[in-house]
């Protein structure tokens, strides 16, 4: 089908965009369009106003100072994925982004667009949940920072207010020696994930697990941290036994019901295997006893 009728605005500046956002009760933001335009084409979205951010150049930035990788919301996904400074500080970003649809989609898709869209199966929200990332929202009234844990509220639903714009997405860097991995399973390459999981693993001087972080996508109404598995891993010897046990504990995080992609039972099985797998990969990349 074709997009519905809407009012269209393409502000020159962020201030202009915020003004329109404040004036409109029912506006949507056109960033890269890779999620919004399909929903317009299918008439799943029928907004009064579309605010096109393509002319707001100040939102396409990557700043890697001070222990955070701060990414302007209009930064194209492919740009962040290929940014060497970001990769050097947090290689998990690239590994995770390679699962986002296809390169041609990532050429246009933006970091902020994917995060604000908040598909529970998508990769960047999962990565931010895993890393305790931060989201910066701005309105005409001011700016606020929202933790990833508070930002993702439900399917396609975030803590953003109707008058707010997501302007920046901040990914914490990894600790020296911290291991990392992301994997997901989809029926076809580039499809939405049936389930996906990410892990970071930090070892102590004795080679035991000082900190494990685990998160999953595709298994609930939001991305989820796998706290029970994380807690069980603290202080444990890294290895197949601990990782299999963590996978077992992770299965309870699946709260989706059976759908056309997979049954809930299958997703539980899948998530257990993915968690075991990302922990194994993260351990292989983690610095040994120091």
């Amino acid at each position: 089908m074709k997009p519905p009728c809407y009012e269209y605005v393409a502000p020159d500046t962020l201030a202009g965009a915020l003004r329109v956002r404040a004036e409109c009760e029912d506006s949507v933001v056109l960033a890269g369009g890779q999620s919004l335009v399909p929903t317009l084409n299918f008439r799943l979205a029928n907004p009064d106003t579309v605010i096109d951010l393509r002319r707001v150049a100040e939102l396409a930035t990557i700043d890697t100072r001070d222990g955070m990788i701060r990414v302007g919301a209009m930064t194209r996904q492919r740009t962040l994925e290929r940014n060497e400074a970001a990769f050097a500080r947090n290689p998990l970003i690239r590994e995770t982004m390679e699962y986002i649809a296809h390169p041609v989609i990532r050429n246009r898709g933006t970091v902020g667009g994917s995060v604000a869209h908040a598909d529970p199966a998508s990769e960047l929200p999962c990565l931010l949940t895993l890393l305790d990332g931060e989201l910066t929202a701005r309105s005409s009234a001011g700016e606020r920072t929202i933790s990833a844990a508070e930002f993702f509220e439900f399917v396609f639903t975030t803590a953003l207010e109707p008058e707010e714009l997501l302007v920046e997405v901040a990914f914490p860097v990894l600790e020296p020696g911290e291991g990392w991995a992301f994997r997901e399973f989809a029926r076809r390459h580039g499809d939405f994930a049936v389930a996906g999981a990410g892990a970071t693993l930090l070892l102590d001087d004795a080679g035991r697990i000082a900190r494990a972080r685990l998160a999953a996508c595709g298994v609930a109404t939001t991305p989820v941290r796998l706290r029970a598995a994380e807690d069980a891993l603290r202080g444990a010897e890294p290895g197949p036994e601990a990782f299999r046990a963590a996978g077992e504990l992770a299965r309870d995080a699946v709260t989706t019901v059976d759908d056309t992609a997979a049954s809930a039972d299958y997703r539980r099985h899948l998530l257990g295997g993915l968690v075991n797998d990302v922990l194994t990969r993260a351990a292989a990349r983690a610095g040994g006893p120091r």
Partner: protein, 184 residues
């Protein structure tokens, strides 16, 4: 509704940051398509794919799924492949667009990728072919091809073909890459 309501398509103005445009309004865009300068007046809800096909008559760009999955509508925007069905015409104002019609030389000499698709049986019905040609052209000219066929199929996974089983497309991609590499 506020702002201008130009319905005179010939007198459409370039986009203004403070104006809210309705679906009946027309916005003047200026772009390059296959090397030629194009001036047009477009509705803000017109997809680039429909602009290319309907307004410019460039029907080589095919529209399959209209939600970014099939890849048949792939074109290059400023040298980078993108889905024309997931892009509004108004968004490419000021950009360089290249479509499948822009691959061959003006005298009809096929692009190495086009020739390789013909020689390697990289198409049957041809519906997906324009999208594949645009995606593969960018791949062989700008990226490193995977050594394994599994890896190459992953690189081609953004485009769907329901006829060939991809064998010919993989072979065509390798042949075109080899030819382009040999020319340096």
């Amino acid at each position: 509704m506020t702002g201008n309501h130009s319905t005179d398509h010939l007198n459409a103005e370039p986009v203004d940051g403070d104006t809210r445009y309705g679906a009946e309004d027309r916005i003047a865009i200026s772009l390059t398509v296959n090397g030629e300068k194009v001036e047009a007046a477009v509705s803000p809800r017109l997809l680039l794919s429909d602009f290319l096909r309907g307004d410019l008559g460039l029907t080589g760009t095919h529209v399959g799924c209209e939600h970014g999955v099939c890849g048949a509508c792939t074109v290059h925007l400023d040298g980078v492949p993108a889905r024309s069905c997931l892009t509004m015409a108004v968004q490419v104002d000021g950009m360089e667009v290249r479509t499948v019609e822009g691959l061959a030389e003006p005298d009809g000499t096929l692009h190495p990728v086009q020739r390789a698709f013909r020689e390697c049986h990289g198409l049957q019905c041809g519906f997906c072919t324009p999208g594949f040609l645009m995606a593969v052209t960018h791949l062989v000219e700008n990226e490193e091809l995977a050594e394994t066929d599994d890896g190459l199929r992953a690189q081609l996974a953004g485009n769907l073909c329901r006829c060939t089983g991809y064998m010919g497309i993989v072979a065509a991609t390798r042949q075109a890459a080899a030819e382009i590499a040999s020319k340096g």
